[in-house]
């Protein structure tokens, strides 16, 4: 009897150690691809498609929405304008047609492909036009409880260029760099603003040119970003040498939409002194000098 009880106790204790994980109920939606970049003349059109996937075990009720965006944060996050009409004129969001009803159901673990056409009206303003096509989960409020529900919406960004008289200009509005460094890495940051009327990819670079032959010519690539009109993007890069050395003239550049270089004004310089190497070197030199002087003073060489 005692053995049976001990065995039972051990069994129950072991069972309690087995972790029990309740499978979390996840609800959500997936979209693909995440962006399109079109160039469409006024009076013409182009097509694309989005794929909406339901990875849940319940059917997913969705609705397709299109919203314009006109500004983007420095990190590249668009700010959307909502689905209400913006005025008497039509915008990119109005130029979409879909080849399927905007509302539908995606069965569990299935996907649905929805094609769209963008028809640019005759006489549309040349330049950049921006919107996102969203798939939003339709969620009904539960009844009988004071509660807040959350729904998901995912989008594909649509960047459209209507060719014509456009400007692809830009300016570097901010550039920060270290003036004196003891050791690497040395970080450079830049902000580039699109002052034109259409989006473009801007590549930023920092060139370090040695002054008085002190150092080696080096380029720091800050990367490439797409900048939409009236928006800025941040660029960050670093000189990754552990103990850089030299006296440099800094030339920060970015490209505009025509590939022309935009540069910063002023003379920027950088002094790099690797103290971790120089100080021990100086100490060693001083020690050597002291030893030589000491020997000269106190040691007599007899012929």
């Amino acid at each position: 009897m005692k053995r049976i009880l001990i065995a039972l106790f051990i069994g129950l204790a072991s069972a309690s150690l087995i972790p029990y994980t309740a499978k979390a109920a996840t609800k959500g939606i997936q979209i693909s691809p995440l962006s399109y970049n079109f160039e469409i003349k006024d009076g013409s059109g182009d097509t694309g498609k989005i794929i909406i996937t339901n990875q849940n075990s319940d059917p997913l009720n969705y609705v397709i929405e299109v919203e314009n965006f006109a500004s983007v944060t420095d990190e590249g996050a668009p700010t959307f304008a909502g689905t209400e009409p913006e005025g008497a004129y039509t915008t990119l969001a109005d130029w979409f047609t879909f080849d399927a009803p905007k509302e539908g159901v995606v069965e569990p673990f299935k996907d649905v492909t929805i094609g769209f056409t963008i028809n640019i009206p005759q006489g549309a303003e040349p330049g950049g036009h921006y919107a996102a096509v969203f798939a939003r989960e339709i969620r009904k409020n539960a009844e009988g409880k004071t509660e807040l529900g959350v729904a998901s919406r995912v989008g594909s960004l649509i960047l459209v260029t209507v060719p014509g008289e456009t400007k692809k200009t830009g300016t570097i509005t901010d550039f920060t760099y270290p003036k004196l460094i003891w050791k690497g890495p040395a970080e450079f940051t830049m902000k580039v603003e699109n002052t034109g009327t259409v989006h473009y990819d801007s590549k930023a670079n920092v060139e370090l040119s040695p002054i008085a032959f002190l150092g080696k010519k080096t380029n720091v690539d800050l990367g490439t970003h797409t900048i939409i009109p009236s928006s800025s993007r941040n660029y960050v890069g670093s000189l990754d040498k552990k103990y850089p050395f030299g006296y440099y003239k800094i030339n920060a550049t970015a490209t505009d939409g025509d590939g022309a270089s935009i540069t910063t004004a002023g003379n920027a310089t950088l002094i790099a002194i690797p103290l971790m190497i120089i100080i021990p070197g100086l100490i060693g030199l001083a020690l050597l000098i002291w030893i030589i002087v000491f020997i000269k003073k106190h040691v007599v060489f007899k012929p």
Binding site: S35, E75, T79, F80, K145, E147, V154, H225
Partner: protein, 222 residues
């Protein structure tokens, strides 16, 4: 000896003659072995890896405030609040925005009369959330209390869904406004955790209120 030599030579001559008069395709079967017939061909495989973004809720897709007493702020009963998972192969990361599509200073928390609503939090925006002060702040507010990849400093120092001392709250905007951005490629799922808080004035109509807030995710522009 002579006989053996003569026989061998004769056999060789016969064999040689045979080989000369027969084409290779008619070799005697005892000199050939059947090899298994071999065929080859090319199969072209192709496919496209598309960028994708998946948004799911790990917990808290429904937040229950229970009974709300005017003047006593409440958080939703789920201690984790709403936990949002985003998985994407976008090379530049993603942004997460919130909105309720309600114009004016009202939230989507609507009475069963379908007209009366609980107000938006009376101060604090997604761009500049504020610490909740009981007696001063009313309406529905949201906070982000945790982020796996990162947490924006503007959301405060709170560490749980109802950490009122540390969380900073904002009204839910009408249109999708970015509350959280993760830049750069992420191999694994990213998680952000959100808390909800509500208080109402004495004049709030009694009854049951419910509403929906939408989380909106897109890839960061490259």
């Amino acid at each position: 000896m002579k006989k053996v030599l003569f026989t061998s030579l004769s056999a060789l001559f016969v064999l040689w003659g045979f080989a000369l008069t027969n084409d290779a395709n008619k070799n005697p079967s005892f000199f050939t072995s059947k090899a298994q017939a071999a065929t080859s061909g090319n199969v072209t495989l192709s496919g496209t890896v598309l960028p994708y973004l998946n948004l799911t809720f790990a917990t808290g897709q429904t937040g229950d405030f229970g009974n709300i007493t005017p003047g006593t702020p409440k958080c939703t009963s789920n201690p984790s609040g709403t936990v949002v998972n985003v998985t994407t192969n976008a090379s530049n990361g993603y942004t997460l925005a919130l909105y309720d599509a309600e114009s004016g200073a009202v939230s989507d928390m609507t009475h069963t009369d379908t007209t009366t609503k609980i107000a938006d939090m009376n101060s604090g925006t997604i761009a500049a959330p504020v610490l909740w002060v009981t007696g001063t702040h009313l309406g529905l507010g949201v906070t982000m209390y945790s982020g796996l990849a990162s947490k924006e400093a503007l959301w405060g120092t709170g560490a749980s869904a109802c950490d009122v001392a540390g969380n900073k709250y904002a009204a839910v905007p009408e249109t999708a406004t970015t509350g959280h951005t993760v830049t750069g490629f992420r191999i694994t799922t990213d998680t952000s955790s959100w808390g909800w808080r509500v208080d109402v004035p004495n004049t709030q109509k009694t009854g049951i209120y419910s509403g929906v807030v939408t989380f909106n995710a897109v890839g960061v522009i490259s």
